[in-house]
Subunit: 341 residues, 2 copies
């Protein structure tokens, strides 16, 4: 859906400039745009195109300043594409950066939060035309208030959040996220053209590790409290035949457990790829019979700090376990199969 | 609490001008101020005084216009006093009017709503300093979004809502509410001085009817979804000995049923007064052993229109029954005891 929105906007309004953080003046204003809510809802309750200009204008008016650029707040799914679609329409550039280097389910799970930047003033809207502006005392309050408004709006909302200065993006953002996503797409397409294994290419570009190869035999999923929560169960195939993997998620994958042993945890990325094409299978697309490779990718070092782990470590999500970086887990018990041959 | 807030503000900032609706210029801006949420919470989670200036300023800035006056949005409890306390502090007058001629639990239950006036832009805040601005497509959406924010804020919030022009107040408001409340207080105090029955005086001033005299033998109350919902059971005393009365409420009293027979319904006022002093016993103060007189007061005619009854009639609150004006019920089966001797 995000890709279609971006393609249509670019066709209608022209191409978008992608700029580096260093190209933004220190006092230039950047307004990230995104959707929030349960991805299971997003795929059915589709925006009508008016929402992003509406939240953008409302936030700009509230701040009383011109906006220099937009950017993705996270990398993944529709939220990678929305800034491109909106930038075309609003005729502003997109900064090649994000605030996670991955995707996370809650509003305070952003590197800008770790640096003390407020998520508010923030504006949210729905496809009906309701508008909510928040100005809070903490990003946790923003998450609580915005989440409940998202639920009332029907489970998904379009938001303008974390208004940032160029200086803040340079210091606290994660640079290069958009071009990394581009590069992943490129190597997948090239592998296909050259009839090579796309998984090896993805692992190389992302610095990731192959954790498990399996077939989904069960998915339980509930859309509750504005999130898609649940777990998927994989039976091993090929070299993992006879083993099983349990994958727990809250919008994004959180913990992977194989036969009682934790093999990857937040904040490292746990990514499910189609076993043949290496295209991602997002949590809302997990379904019985999918043949997949689960890979682990080390997260940005900002998430491995004490404040980072407090914000997005396993314990925040209710798993009483210490965080061990995925590359250490892989180099231990699983070292023998850290990389695909 | 409202009385204490008003007394303190007047002591600190000086007296407040009470003006008639006709004194407001047609294009003069009026911003009603109120608390929303469960009264059971309000009595324990007390505002710190900064909230009303905060919502007032935020709404004024958003509208970009000077504010001529404030007014109560409803008559009853703390929301009669908050406009006085705030007007003293903000040095603006209070308009002698409200939007209900009584109190109701939901935001769209206002005569301005019947006249097509939007409740938004609306601003809400809590004692911690979180601020939410709403701009919606309907007053029902405002109620849904504001109610969920109130719950997140801890069950009560301070609001600036239904920004009105002088013309709208004159056409769609209920004039004289503040002075009516003053007059009720006056007759109660005078009756006490003159050792007369204060109930008769209250019935005369309000045009009300005595419905039941009883003692509370049970109260069940839950604070759910941002409301105080429940019912109180009265055993008859004096001339009602042997009978019982069931009173159902959602912040305000909705339906009174005596031995299976409905004796009063929303939108007419069902008011519980202390049997000795005629002082009101609000729903959050109902408790075992209270000796009370339940009176019914005809509501403002605006509520008896089709749109009025659709908005606040028994069916809106989930009671599958037709509305019969309280004076008709009293002149029927209960005629013999319509008025206190």
């Amino acid at each position: 859906m995000g890709k279609l929105m971006a393609l249509q906007a670019i066709e209608e309004f022209g191409p978008v400039d992608l700029i580096e953080p260093s190209e933004v003046p220190d006092d230039g204003l950047i307004v990230p745009l995104a959707m929030m809510g349960a991805p299971t809802v997003l795929v059915e309750k589709i925006p009508n195109g008016e929402e992003f200009p509406r939240v953008f204008e409302a936030l700009r008016n509230y701040l009383g300043k011109p906006v220099f650029a937009t950017m993705p707040i996270e990398a993944g799914g529709v939220n990678s594409m929305i800034p491109l679609a909106s930038a075309a329409r609003l005729r502003i550039p997109v900064v090649d950066a994000d605030g996670m280097g991955r995707a996370f389910p809650e509003l305070q799970m952003v590197t800008f939060h770790l640096a003390g930047v407020s998520a508010t003033p923030m504006v949210m809207t729905d496809e009906k035309g309701n508008l909510v502006l928040l100005n809070t005392i903490s990003n946790e309050w923003t998450e609580a208030l915005a989440r409940s408004a998202t639920v009332v709006m029907g489970g998904s909302a379009m938001i303008a959040i974390y208004p940032l200065t160029g200086e803040q993006v340079k210091e606290a953002g994660i640079a290069g996220t958009v071009t990394l996503a581009q590069r992943i797409g490129e190597v997948i397409r090239r592998s296909k053209r050259e009839s090579q294994n796309p998984l090896s290419a993805v692992l190389e570009v992302t610095g990731g590790f192959c954790l498990f190869k399996g077939k989904i035999v069960d998915v339980s999923r509930k859309t509750v409290g504005g999130f898609a929560r649940g777990e998927a169960l994989f039976d091993g195939i090929d070299e993992d035949r006879g083993k099983s993997l349990q994958l727990k998620f809250q919008n994004e994958n959180l913990i992977a457990i194989s036969d009682g042993e934790v093999i990857a945890q937040v904040p490292d990325l746990i990514t499910v790829l189609d076993a043949e094409t290496a295209r991602p299978i997002t949590t809302e697309s997990l379904r019985y019979g999918c043949r997949a490779v689960i890979i682990g990718i080390p997260c940005n070092p900002k998430w491995r700090t004490p404040k980072g782990l407090e914000t997005v470590g396993p314990r925040y999500f209710g798993y009483d376990m210490d965080y061990v970086p995925v590359e250490e887990r892989v180099s231990g018990a699983c070292a023998k199969r850290g990389r695909l041959e």
